[in-house]
Amino acid sequence: MKALCWYGKHSVSVENVPDPKLLNPRDAILRVTRTAICGSDLHLYDGYIPTLEAGDILGHEFMGEVIEVGAAVKNLRVGDRVVVPFTIACGNCFFCRHQLWSCCDNSNPNAWVLEKLYGYSGSGLFGYSHMMGGYAGGQAQYVRVPFADVGPIKIESDLPDEKVLFLSDIFPTGYMAAENAGIQQGDTVAVWGCGPVGQFAIRSAFLLGADRVIAIDSYPGRLRLAEAAGAETLDAGEGNIQERLREATAGAGPDGVIDAVGMEAFAHSLGGFYDVVKQQLKLETDRPTALREVIMACRKGGHISVPGVYGGYVDKFPLGAIFGKACHFATGQTHVHRYLRPLLERIERGEIDPSSIISHHFPLQQAPQAYDLFLKKKNECIKVVLDPWAKAA
């Protein structure tokens, strides 16, 4: 089959590789019908996540048709159409039983690596480095899905792939980010980053009853898409976000603040340049430029929600501000399984159309160009969907 493989910083290519086989009794094999590139893939592409190996297949947002099931998979049949959560979870451990799916104890064969880094290891993930399990990803024509009896959700309606594909990650991620913002009636929520995750956080904040959402980014196309969802916008390039948010909230600060940017925040001040240099020199692993601003802007007793990915250590983390304002702090890989059913129902009821954020379609063959386009945000690129079976143009 054809699959997108990682070969180093800014180096990916489509290779012919063997088809995946069933390895365990709870596995299924899918023929992938659609897959997408995520902002998280850019952290791999930029070389910020260690323990990838040359030749690893990327991709954790995908859906497809079941073509084979293992002996223990009783709920799926060949021919079923399913969307697969990017977190791999067993369904039976303490964490899965408590709906903390991205903390599953039993799905990371290389848990020892993360134990050294974090104390304890989270769940395995598709296509996201060997410390996260080393599972081959879904930017491919076929993919092996472990624990297929608990993860995949069947799509029984005739909704097109593009409307349900993002249940695999970014819609639940934006939704959990909004939940973590503790939204109450009358709340104002500020969202940093209007990439795909930010877009879903904005839409979810409204679904959860936010009165106002203020969206922050510096790409005009992305800000326009946020406006289309009903958000007010601030151009980060114009600086002084803190003051503008204070004014926008009559001196109080937003009730909930969401960092949908992550470890590769860009700098629009000298302070941010400091992090670029430190990260290049490997003195810190992540650039918390947006995160600091998020924390400083939060109102007293407010909720700080961090869906953006961080991998290691950051400098000058304003812990005192979180303490001094008695803020809540919530973060983590999304517990995707929790949200599949309720969010699919919202899509079916027409409360949201996830396909509205797609800016580009490519055949898998052209995935390397698509990565470059998405990284540099050229041609107003917001979200790329790949078709593994289309002929290259």
Partner: protein, 253 residues
């Protein structure tokens, strides 16, 4: 009994070790190439042992000291079920990748074969010394064979709704000079115990052991091929069947 580790050397012997070490270091510095690194390592070793007034290699002759370790894990299944699965000793190689086989002879006796990256094949006989169903199992390896150790495993009910607290204790002898090397090749006993318990937990809770061995990938570079060789969690190569009781007792959540 005189212990060679603690006897000092005669002056000529001492200086000849120092001289040999310095010569090897000099060779490594001047010649570079493939032999430089081992030569430098051996040279530094000889030099340091000479300077410390100890005969090189004496630590290998020394009788290994007795070491103990304890590792525990919480398993979300009741103690009887967890005990029963562990008691099927022939299944243990599924969890401990360095074990090749366990052959059960009778209620008390079994034969074990293991393979270490460092010392190759090891074999020993084992005798069960205490067996309390649902609670405890203790064993000891037969005198004078393979990996000399004794161990016990305890199964206690965890806090409400948390399953079973499993504690594995080992007492073993490994030559002290080996300990560092075992850690380097991912075979430090503490890590072996931790990885074994982790896989046992997966088998109990998930019914199978997570693996990526045999999945596709693009062409690899030499370096990427080497990576798994030193892992303390080498991939499970043989796919495991589902744990027989899993579907009826646990099933899909």
């Amino acid at each position: 009994m005189s212990d060679s580790r603690f006897t000092s050397l005669s002056a000529p012997e001492r200086w000849s070790w120092i001289g040999a070490g310095a010569a090897l270091l000099g060779y490594a510095a001047l010649r570079r190439g493939a032999l430089a690194i081992p030569a430098a390592a051996a040279g530094s070793y000889l030099l340091l042992r000479g300077a410390a007034n100890r005969r090189p290699g004496a630590e290998l002759a020394h009788r290994p000291g007795r070491r103990r370790l304890a590792r525990s894990v919480m398993i979300n299944r009741p103690p009887d079920e967890v005990y029963a699965a562990w008691r099927r000793l022939e299944d243990l190689p599924r969890f401990f990748p360095h074990l090749e086989s366990v052959t059960v002879r009778d209620d008390k006796h079994s034969h074990w074969v293991a393979r270490s990256r460092l010392s190759g094949k090891l074999e020993w006989d084992c005798e069960i010394t205490d067996d309390q169903p649902g609670r405890t199992l203790a064993w000891r390896s037969a005198a004078g064979m393979g990996f000399k150790h004794s161990g016990e495993i305890h199964f206690r009910p965890g806090p409400p709704q948390r399953g079973t607290r499993v504690e594995l204790r080992w007492s073993y002898r490994v030559p002290s000079a080996w300990r560092g090397m075992l850690a380097l090749v991912g075979e430090a006993p503490g890590q072996v115990a931790r990885e074994g318990l982790r896989r046992f937990k997966q088998w109990m809770e998930a019914g199978e052991i997570a693996t990526i061995a045999g999945q596709p990938h693009g062409p690899r570079t030499r370096l990427a091929e080497l990576a798994p060789l030193f892992s303390p969690a080498p991939p499970v190569h043989e796919p495991t069947p589902l744990r027989p009781e899993w579907l009826e007792r646990t099933g899909t959540a």
